[in-house]
Symmetry: C2
Subunit: 88 residues, 2 copies
Amino acid sequence: MYIIGIYDVNKKRVGKIKKLFDRYMFWTQNSVFEGKLTKVQLRELRNKLDGIIDPEEDQVIFYQLGNQKWLNKTILGKQVDDDPPNFI
Amino acid sequence: MYIIGIYDVNKKRVGKIKKLFDRYMFWTQNSVFEGKLTKVQLRELRNKLDGIIDPEEDQVIFYQLGNQKWLNKTILGKQVDDDPPNFI
């Protein structure tokens, strides 16, 4: 599956959440990650996220696609950073 | 087409860009919009964005799908806000 993961979380938790996403997917833009995951990997990532986020304050959205070919991606402005900023 | 639009832009331009997206798509999360657009509407939105963003600083990404049915969306934590915050 191809996954786009986006998050809007309290500043206190952004660092931890970004580090976790970094282990499963690649950074695309602030609070946005993409990548291919198996069902098992996605479940693993979701369970770990559930252990970090505050469901009252934070939100993570996963867009799942059966096949990356169904997705057409266009970028306006700054093209993809080769080395994404390491700031959180 | 079903479109997910995400942006990472200079604070000076966030308000203008959010207002423009609001006219074409619905707010999903900070800097994230979704919605159905025709090719003409998407081209129109892109041209208007090109007139606002600074290509050196700002980035807008459009994920286009031929059909919304191909997309599976799951939300962890805070569910969709009924009335999205009007702060920018």
